[in-house]
């Protein structure tokens, strides 16, 4: 093993290279530092603006769906500005992974992009974990095409099923097989991987069974990869959360489903068929025993908290439903 006995000149060179790289990096860093100063001032100003003193302290453990994560993260961020001594942690274990921890009593709140399953209900019951289910928002799945594509303007659920169904694998390969008015171009599909809740929801809504999908599409857990894929081929089709579409409207266009365009309104009232509810599950034990969790949930459902749902790109539940959720929390506390 000669590398361990290398001469000291080599070591000196190594040092020189390392120091040079560090130097180069910091020089560039300093150059751009001054431009960013005003931004950092904005940052510190906004965080020092709320100087309310709060005696609330303690930890709040949250985990669960990556779809619900942006809402909870935003609420947690604002909550911690007001209550400096609380420590809120938010993890991304997925809906199923979140319930495993929730029903083991490891977390106080769990995010979910689908209702709790029978198996998970039993798991929680076995561990004597009681919970409140709260619908906090709705998320639309966007079916997207390339910006230059001019024939895929609207697809019915039947057509979507023909494109994505398990029976279409190796059979439906050209667009004119889906509809005669479409050109005879190769179908190129992009979608989330099979572990994702988005995949479960889409396959259940479109193909009638969760997990039933053709296998010959390009899957990726990283939605940005799907965006790049669809943006690269004029005859491609993909689906993912609406938030990724709204950030990439310069490259992608949305396909209407059964003639309905996904929007805040159509997703919120359910007339857009590919909209799914987002939940948080709150442990009754945590909410009654831990003051910080109680305050957090109250803040989550307050007007200020629930406004985060729209801010991060999802649709709000109706005012009546919100009122009912607040009442359910109050009842659990008595």
């Amino acid at each position: 093993m000669n590398i361990f006995n290398s001469s000291s000149t080599l070591l000196k060179e190594l040092i020189v290279i390392n120091v040079l790289t560090l130097f180069a990096l910091t020089v560039v860093a300093c150059g751009s530092d001054s431009e960013e100063e005003n931004v950092s001032e904005v940052g510190s100003a906004s965080s020092s603006s709320s100087n309310s003193i709060s005696n609330l302290s303690g930890d709040i453990a949250i985990d669960g769906s990556s779809t619900v994560y942006p809402i909870t993260e935003a609420v947690a961020e604002e909550f911690q500005i007001a209550h400096k001594n609380t420590r809120v942690t938010v993890g991304i274990s997925g809906t199923g992974g979140g319930f495993k921890k929730f029903c083991a009593g490891e977390t106080d709140i769990s995010g979910a992009s689908r209702p709790i399953r029978d198996k998970e209900v039993k798991m929680c019951a076995d561990a004597e974990i009681e919970y409140i289910e709260i619908r906090v928002g709705l998320d639309g799945l966007a079916v997207v095409k390339n910006r230059n594509n001019n024939y895929l303007n609207d697809l019915t659920m039947e057509q979507l099923s023909k494109v994505w169904g398990p029976a279409s694998e190796d059979l439906v390969m050209k667009w004119n097989q889906v509809d005669l008015s479409f050109p005879a171009e190769d179908i190129d599909l992009y979608g989330p991987g099979t572990d994702s809740g988005t995949f479960d929801f889409f396959t259940e809504e479109v193909n009638g069974e969760a997990g039933a999908s053709r296998g010959d599409y390009t899957p990726s857990e990283d939605d940005n990869v799907l965006v790049t894929g669809v943006a690269g081929n004029e005859h491609s089709l993909g689906y993912f959360g609406f938030a990724y579409y709204s950030e990439n409207t310069d490259k992608l266009a949305v396909v209407t489903v059964n003639g309905v365009t996904p929007s805040d309104k159509t997703v919120g009232d359910g007339s857009y068929l590919l909209s799914r509810p987002l939940f948080i599950y709150v442990s009754k034990k945590s909410i009654t025993e831990k003051e910080q969790v109680r305050e957090f949930v109250n803040y989550y459902l307050s007007d200020e908290g629930i406004a985060m749902v729209a801010e991060v790109g999802y649709s709000n539940v109706s005012a009546d439903e919100l009122k009912a959720s607040r009442k359910a929390v109050d009842e659990a506390l008595q």
Binding site: M1, I3, F4, N5, S8, L11, K12, L14, I15, N18, V19, T21, L22, A24, L25, T26, V28, A29, G31, S32, D33, E36, V39, S40, V42, G43, S44, S46, S47, D59, A61, D63, Y69, P70, T72, E73, A74, A76, E77, Q80, R87, V88, T89, V90, G91, I92, S93, K101, E106, D222, D223, N224, G241, A243, Y244, S246, E247, N248, E311, V312
Partner: protein, 317 residues
Amino acid sequence: MNDLTGSSRTDISSQGSMFKTSLALRHFRGRVFYGLCLVGSLVGIVLLLVLMNDIRQDGFEYFSSHFFTNYPSRKPEIAGFRGAIMGTLWVMTIVAATSFPIGVGAAVYLEEYAKKTRLTSLIQMNISNLAGVPSIVFGILGLQLFVRGTIGYGPAICIGESCGFGRSVMSGALTLTLLILPVVIVASQEAIKSVPPSIREASYGVGATRWQTVSSHVLPQAMPGIMTGMILALSRAIGETAPIIMIGALTFVAFSPETPLDPFTAMPIQVLNWVSRPQAEFHDLAATGIVVLLITLLTMNTLAVVLRIKLGRESAR
């Protein structure tokens, strides 16, 4: 006469020319080999430069003081890296503090004390095998052993209501220690092996005990090699994501850990989270995070190289 000498000359020269041809070929082969070696060593540097240039382009847009003082946020312009930096520093300090004594201890035992029995060769083989186990497997082990405090059979080790170390800095650090131990042990063993036997013999010759020989001669001589092994191992640990996600390092942590039992996040996890967001601003933030990770790594390497040279000089004295 003339004819005779002439013909004999041509004989020699034709023989000579045969040698000349093959000499040129051999020189050519030598140059090709030299070229291949040069290309081989340049590939790494060129790749590093390309990588640095790539992140330099979008990595510095968010590089400013508040990036180091702020905690993560949904707004990219005020989002910072502080929680991740502090988490990584906490974890790496504990990893270094635990893996060094255990790793070097195991290496010293195997090289200096253990007799060559079937058991030691079995241990040796398993250490080499462990070095090749995928990191996620260590994550699963860490989740069971450190987070939940059980070995899979019997009751968990609990104090009051909390079992194991929970999803804390300690669990993450111990999991990463397990992950890098094989590398530390093998590198330390090689370093100890490379200490010439004459030094040990001389030490025993003047009446030193085994402990005196090991502590004042073998280890100081082997230290530069051991340090190299440690650097390589720690560099691997600092960038690992899979095992610490498995044991439950969190994504949104807007505070710094204050004790080893606090929850934490780490630099690679924060970067991963930013990369997977829809907004392009977060992708630039991720690039800045990578720059910070790289600077931390290079600082660590530089520190270790300096330490190596110092130790090398002292042992040479």
